[in-house]
């Protein structure tokens, strides 16, 4: 549905003519039915990528196509549910007015508009802020308003740029439910985020960007192979000699029974099996960092 083909974007300063390559040779296809994450450190090119996808910028090289059309042509004819990284709306607008105006632009029929606005406000907990102007909203509430306006239309593409920025843990959790509800076979959802945990939970694939280049694409449950050694944290009831069962295991200082070990899944399973057979009681076994975190760290450091 969305096709980035060797896309490059260079910014050139007006006066000094200094050039910055924000994106280089980026190719990726995003298909209907999937949730695609875009991860990367600050300045990696995530926002530029989103702007190119929305047609707010034109690539310096390569091409972006949505259903075979240039992005601007697609957006102007079909629309995109888009949450910006920095939610910007006129500060004096009241919350329901802002949503009603944007619902009008999104093509919500006049007869359904008020109902849609009320429903969206209830969905995102904005009812209690109905009397407030945009400028009176806290960062988290503004973010929810941004998400609300993105959900007003019924579009085949959803683009969320740093969607949980400023949200409290409760609303971060609810946001995940919202994304789960948005999934459907004919829709592609693109989420750009710093939050790897969030992307790991939501995305089917995560494209990792660094310095404007696509470093790797991590498939859900794959890509980082199970044969790769990872750091694990293992804890037991009591203090069995895990160090004796597994060479290289180190006890975590000040926490009896908690060990840190670097091993493949197979090596760890074998060691644990021996200990459990001997009667040890396992209370915790978790990777110290997620697959995506491992892939991200490797990609960014390489």
């Amino acid at each position: 549905m969305i096709q980035f083909d060797q896309v490059g974007k260079t910014y050139t300063a007006l006066v000094t003519r200094k050039r910055v390559d924000a994106l280089s040779d980026f190719s990726l296809e995003m298909r209907r039915g999937e949730v695609v994450g875009i991860a990367g450190p600050n300045g990696a090119g995530k926002s530029t990528l989103i702007s190119l996808l929305m047609g707010f910028l034109q690539p310096t090289s390569g091409s972006v196509r949505i259903d075979g059309k240039p992005p601007r042509a697609y957006v102007e004819s079909s629309g995109v549910s888009y949450l910006t990284e920095l939610v910007n709306l006129p500060p004096r607008w009241k919350v329901p007015t802002a949503l009603s105006r944007l619902a009008t632009l999104a093509g919500v029929p006049a007869s359904e508009r008020d109902g849609k606005v009320r429903e969206t406000m209830a969905r995102l907990g904005l009812e209690e802020h109905a009397a407030k102007q945009v400028k009176q909203l806290s960062k988290g509430n503004l973010q929810r308003l941004g998400l609300a306006q993105a959900l007003l239309g019924d579009f085949d593409i959803v683009v969320l740029d740093e969607p949980t920025h400023g949200l409290d843990p409760l609303w971060t959790q609810r946001f995940r439910d919202v994304v789960a509800e948005l999934r459907r076979p004919d829709r592609v959802i693109v989420i750009a985020s710093h939050n790897l945990d969030e992307l790991e939970r939501l995305a089917d694939r995560v494209a990792i960007l660094n310095r404007g280049r696509l470093q790797r694409v991590v498939e859900h449950g794959g890509a980082v192979t199970e044969s790769a050694a990872r750091a694990w944290r293992v804890a037991f009831e009591g203090t069995p000699d895990f160090g004796g069962a597994f060479a290289g295991a180190t006890a975590v200082e000040g926490r009896p029974g908690v060990w840190r070990v670097t091993a493949t899944g197979a090596e760890l399973s074998a060691a644990l099996a021996r200990l459990l057979t001997d009667g040890a009681v396992l209370t915790e076994c978790a990777p110290e960092e997620s697959r995506l975190e491992t892939a991200f760290r490797t990609a960014v450091q390489s």
């Binding site: 702007s51 929305m54 910028l57 102007e76 910007n88 632009l105 093509g107 029929p109 019924d154």
Partner: protein, 248 residues
């Protein structure tokens, strides 16, 4: 949901915005000015004939719009595109299924209607408070329409690049009018570069609401320049990306 993709669906919101600002100010100023003129005319003009009163009211309309037309257009159009871009609001608007050029063209046309309603409201006030009628002539309306086309299009074009569009148009209009006035009065003999600049910039000095309707080359010059600037702004909106950086 059966989406409403009518290209005019946002018009009611534009009308509401323009009615609140600057429409309410225009209304207040028009009525207030008409009322003030009634006071002045009673104090100083005494009993005059209907014909003299009509001529006086026509002159008042012309002089009033000579003074305020540029300011009225700047208030109705200032920052129309540039502010949306500068503040990043365009990202919310134009992720929805609407083309920027069409969105801003509608805004331009509605602002034109608002500015053209000003002499009507002012004239209505004058007819209520004086015996000279509304003072509205086809020439006055024609010149106000041309003035809006020229000033409004200049603001649109400048607004594609900056939110200080109003300042640019104000400076251009000031320069053009000063050069034209001083040249006509023989106070200056513009150097060649100034004459070239004067000829190249929008002919705002030809907009005179106290004079007759433009005709011939002057009409072509003003209308042609206005339409060209409007088309240039719309083409830029269609083909030039709205963003200037990842987050801009």
């Amino acid at each position: 949901m059966n989406p409403n993709k009518s290209p005019f669906r946002y018009v009611p919101w534009f009308m509401r915005d323009l009615a609140i600002w600057p429409g309410s100010l225009f209304l207040l100023a028009s009525v207030g000015l008409a009322f003030a003129i009634r006071k002045v005319s009673r104090s100083f003009m005494g009993d005059i004939s209907i014909t003299e009163a009509q001529e006086a009211v026509t002159m008042i309309q012309g002089q009033t719009f000579h003074a305020i037309l540029l300011v009225a257009v700047l208030m109705a159009m200032g920052g129309v595109i540039g502010t949306d871009q500068h503040r990043g609001w365009y990202r919310a608007w134009f992720s929805k299924p609407i083309a920027p050029w069409w969105y801003y063209l509608q805004r331009f046309l509605l602002a034109a209607v608002l500015v053209l309603m000003m002499p009507l409201v002012f004239g209505l006030g004058l007819s209520l408070f004086t015996t000279g009628g509304t003072g509205i002539t086809s020439a006055l309306l024609g010149i106000i329409a041309l003035g809006f086309l020229l000033y409004g299009s200049a603001v649109m074009l400048a607004s594609v690049f900056t939110s200080r569009d109003w300042l640019i148009v104000f400076i251009v209009a000031f320069f053009q009018n000063q050069v034209a006035t001083f040249s006509r009065m023989g106070l200056i003999k513009p150097p060649p570069w100034m004459r070239v600049l004067h000829d190249a910039l929008p002919p705002t000095h030809l907009i005179d609401t106290t004079g007759p309707m433009l005709s011939g080359n002057a009409l072509l010059h003003v209308a042609g320049y206005g339409v060209a600037m409007l088309l240039a702004a719309l083409l830029l909106l269609k083909y030039r990306p709205l963003g200037s950086g990842g987050r801009a």
